[in-house]
């Protein structure tokens, strides 16, 4: 009686409708996974185009203008449309299960958050077909973004605004879910590490996204509605954008990397068969990193000219982040120390993560040395650094998490053999691509160049880097093959396919029934499922309540329509400035009307959900907690 099995019995139209209207966090997780995965591939193709262009000096594979579009879209897509949604996929799939909840706090908003992200991402990528993509870099610094012709930057600002609203909603939703929906006994200090990192990352989203929202509004207003925030000759100031962007942008790094830490924490514990070493230290380090994340944004602006005092303060503050991060690394090392290490695919990613992320971390400290950063900033050194952090930290976590949680999400096991091949190809390719780029930066190569003149000492290193990228692409292709083969074979697995699961999600079937827990569990400690297993409890759970009626929310198409309305409105706003067409203003109004109308409909219509009756639950499972 799994939801996928149910879906297979339905026709395509019914399945599609089911996913368009679903408010079930597990299905929304799949939506995030599929669309995030799609954008990941798009961003990956863009990355390959970049490396092809830069493989040899004076290459003319793509033109300068197109290169800037590809480079901008690669960054924007990977950060906003791939990494974050993929993390949301795992948060949605796992966090409610880990805390013993039947759903998130706001199932309707969960769906709305997804559809906003989706329509924002689609809108942004439609720029390729409508006159050209944004070309001012993913940071879209104001003077260039204002000067950029065409509608590319408009697509960037409006698309990110829509998907950013979705992200903010998702962040609030996870915060409330974790605050209010924990099962009895699930105290804060018993929460699994992935739940903790999701909690902190969501708090960062809540406080970091509004500055981006405001910055993007300024950009939209300047470009489309005659405002002068960044128009220097009208008294504007472009440095405001840099501040706003990085006040968002630096916490954004932690929004990505903290959940990645969470995934790795789960993997280390499971595949070392050992409790996380220094759990409480890990929790406090996470909180501290989140807090520091807001104090250091100006280290992205050391060369902007903020003055020696500002640079010195932000330099030292930035270095301080190394301390809690180091605490985490050592606690993970001590988790595997004395454990019983199984080299399963997820664990390979986690073990690969440690040296990769340490390398990314130490170059981060080097860049915190402000005077040294004057040399490193905007060179290939920084390109190497942030790819070590984002790929070596976040992407490895996403791939590891994909192998780890695939059975829980889909009820089948990805091939271990292909998984290990994927890891080997990807890991080798990653280091081959990016390690050498540190040196390119030190040898004077600026970043974001569409080509370079030969014989400046960069030719060989660039070629090596491009060859490495091909290995990463092969790794991803292997992964896709693995996914297809696994889905075709469709061999079902049980509750705890890795056999050493420690947290509640492994105590229930894979995939879980749509109501998650027939009876709400009683949590008896950190790693509650492990405790029950060690005590020999065959059900894997102690229950906090007898079987009773379960209240479930109704599906709704309104989130889809609401997001589609903003999508339509964005086209109106985008073409409004052209002034040569009559339709933009009506389209803008129509889109906003659709959105506001569906909000009103949501408000006017009582949505009280429905109940699954006790009798049906008993009929279905045989015995409580059935396998």
């Amino acid at each position: 009686m799994s939801s996928t099995a149910q879906a297979q019995k339905k026709g395509f139209g019914a399945t599609l409708w089911d996913y368009l209207t679903t408010v079930d966090h597990k299905k929304i997780a799949i939506l995030y996974l599929v669309s995030g995965g799609f954008f990941f591939v798009v961003g990956g193709i863009e990355a390959m185009l970049i490396r092809i262009q830069l493989a040899v000096p004076a290459n003319d594979f793509v033109s300068a203008g197109v290169y800037n579009q590809i480079m901008t879209m690669h960054g924007t897509t990977m950060i906003f449309l791939a990494a974050m949604p993929l993390l949301f996929a795992f948060m949605n799939a796992v966090v409610p299960l880990q805390i013993g909840a039947r759903d998130v706090a706001f199932p309707f908003l969960n769906s709305l958050g997804f559809w906003l992200f989706f329509f924002g991402g689609v809108f942004l990528n439609l720029s390729w077909f409508l006159g050209g993509a944004p070309d001012a870099g993913w940071t879209s610094y104001a003077s260039l973004a204002i000067a950029s012709g065409g509608h590319g930057v408009d697509f960037y600002a409006l698309g990110l605004q829509i998907s950013g609203a979705g992200t903010l909603i998702a962040g609030i939703n996870f915060l409330v879910t974790i605050i209010n929906m924990r099962a009895p006994g699930m105290t804060y200090m018993r929460m699994p590490m992935f739940t903790w990192t999701t909690f902190i990352a969501s708090a960062l989203i809540l406080f970091a996204f509004p500055p981006l929202t405001v910055g993007l509004f300024f950009l939209i207003l300047d470009r489309m509605f005659f405002a002068n925030f960044f128009a220097v000759e009208m008294g504007g100031n472009t440095i405001i954008w840099e501040h706003l962007f990085w006040i968002f942008g630096h916490p954004e790094v932690y929004i990505l990397v903290l959940p990645a830490f969470g995934i790795f924490s789960e993997i280390f514990a499971i595949f070392s068969r050992k409790r996380l070493f220094g759990y409480s230290a890990l929790v406090f380090a996470t909180i501290l990193i989140g807090f520091y994340g807001f104090m250091v944004w100006a280290h992205h602006m050391f060369t902007t000219g903020l003055g020696a005092t500002a640079n010195a303060i932000f330099a030292v503050a930035t270095m301080a982040i190394a301390v809690p991060t180091g605490v985490k690394i050592f606690n993970w090392l001590l988790t595997i120390w004395g454990g019983n290490i199984s080299f399963s695919t997820p664990m390979l990613y986690a073990l690969g993560f440690i040296p990769s992320f340490v390398a990314g971390g130490v170059t981060g400290v080097m860049q915190a040395v402000a005077p040294l950063d004057y040399q490193l900033h905007d060179s290939y050194f920084i390109v190497a650094h942030f790819h070590y952090v984002i790929v070596g930290g976040v992407v490895l976590a996403l791939l590891g998490g994909l192998h780890l949680y695939w059975p829980k999400m889909f009820g089948t096991m990805l091939s271990e053999k292909l998984g290990k091949i994927t890891f080997a190809l990807f890991f080798f390719g990653f280091h081959a691509t990016f390690f050498i780029q540190h040196f390119l930066g030190l040898l004077g190569m600026p970043r974001r160049v569409y080509t370079f003149v030969g014989d400046q000492g960069w030719d060989l290193y660039n070629l090596i880097s491009s060859v490495g990228a091909a290995f990463m692409a092969l790794g991803v292709i292997t992964l896709v093959i693995n996914i297809i083969m696994t889905s075709v074979k469709n061999e079902r697995v049980g509750n705890d396919p890795w056999e050493d699961g420690r947290t509640l999600e492994w105590a229930i079937p894979s995939p879980p029934p749509f109501y998650n827990f027939k009876q709400t569990p009683l949590v008896r400690g950190l790693d509650t499922y492990w405790i029950e297993k060690m005590e020999g409890n065959p059900e894997g759970m102690t229950y906090a309540e007898p079987i009773g009626d379960i209240h479930m929310p109704n599906n709704s198409i309104i989130p889809f329509i609401m997001s589609a309305g903003l999508f339509v409105a964005a086209f109106g706003a985008l073409y409004f400035i052209d002034g040569d067409k009559a339709w933009p203003l009506p389209v803008l109004a129509l889109g906003l009307l659709i959105t506001l109308g569906s909000m009103a409909a949501r408000s006017l219509k009582d949505d009280l959900g429905y109940h699954i009756h006790k009798e049906d639950l008993l009929k279905e499972g045989g015995q409580p907690g059935g396998h």
Binding site: A105, L168, L206, N228, M234, I240, L604
Partner: protein, 209 residues
């Protein structure tokens, strides 16, 4: 939760807005949302302060010439009073007096609408008397965006109030809509607090310095 369940003043819970899980979620979620809104306005304030009196070279309009305190003072009083009347409405919501709640909410809406009317007049005045349009300068963009964003919040709040009042006019109070009434009043207080900052930072500091 049964939407049709009838309560009396005695059986009505002390905190009806958080009596259900949905209500609790809404309560926590909305407070968090206001946290995000605070950052949003803080950003707008910071930008305004950075761009205050900044314009093309030779621009003569400054904050101290533009703003007139009496008008803004009336607006402040209107909004502060509306915040108070929404407190009365919540008081009656908690004591299960639906008609009094609706009445106080109606007063709140009227005061808010009056505030909005004054604001529209004010903007109109700046544009026509001073030529201080949205695209006039960085200063004008920052001013209208900050104060206008607040005005937009007021407008949304009014729409929300009216929608809730009409929707529930015949149904009276229940635990399903109690949290909705509570949330809008929370929103209204937030809007009021933001205005106090706008009054201080934009208008008072503008006229003085």
């Amino acid at each position: 939760m049964d939407i049709n369940k009838q309560y009396s003043a005695q059986t009505w819970p002390d905190h009806p807005e958080t009596a259900t899980l949905e209500g609790k979620n809404k309560f926590v979620g909305f407070w968090l949302f206001l946290g995000g809104e605070t950052v949003l306005f803080a950003t707008l304030f910071a930008t305004y302060l950075a761009l205050k009196d900044k314009g093309p070279s030779g621009m003569e309009i400054t904050a101290s010439q533009l703003f007139e305190l009496p008008l803004v003072f009336i607006m402040t009083m209107l909004l502060l009073t509306s915040s108070l009347t929404s407190v009365y409405a919540m008081f009656h919501m908690r004591s299960y007096n639906f008609r009094a709640m609706q009445a106080w909410m109606a007063v709140t809406v009227l005061l808010g609408a009056a505030f909005l009317g004054f604001e529209i007049y004010e903007f109109n005045h700046y544009v026509h008397e001073f030529g201080f349009t949205y695209g006039h300068s960085a200063f004008s963009s920052a001013f209208y965006t900050l104060v206008g964003t607040h005005g937009l919040h007021v407008a949304i709040g009014l729409g929300w109030f009216i929608l809730l009042m009409i929707r529930n006019a015949k149904r009276g109070l229940n635990l399903y809509n109690a949290s909705k009434f509570y949330t809008i009043s929370l929103y209204w207080h937030f809007i009021d607090v933001v205005w106090v900052f706008i009054f201080t930072v934009v208008y008072l500091m503008g006229v003085v310095g």
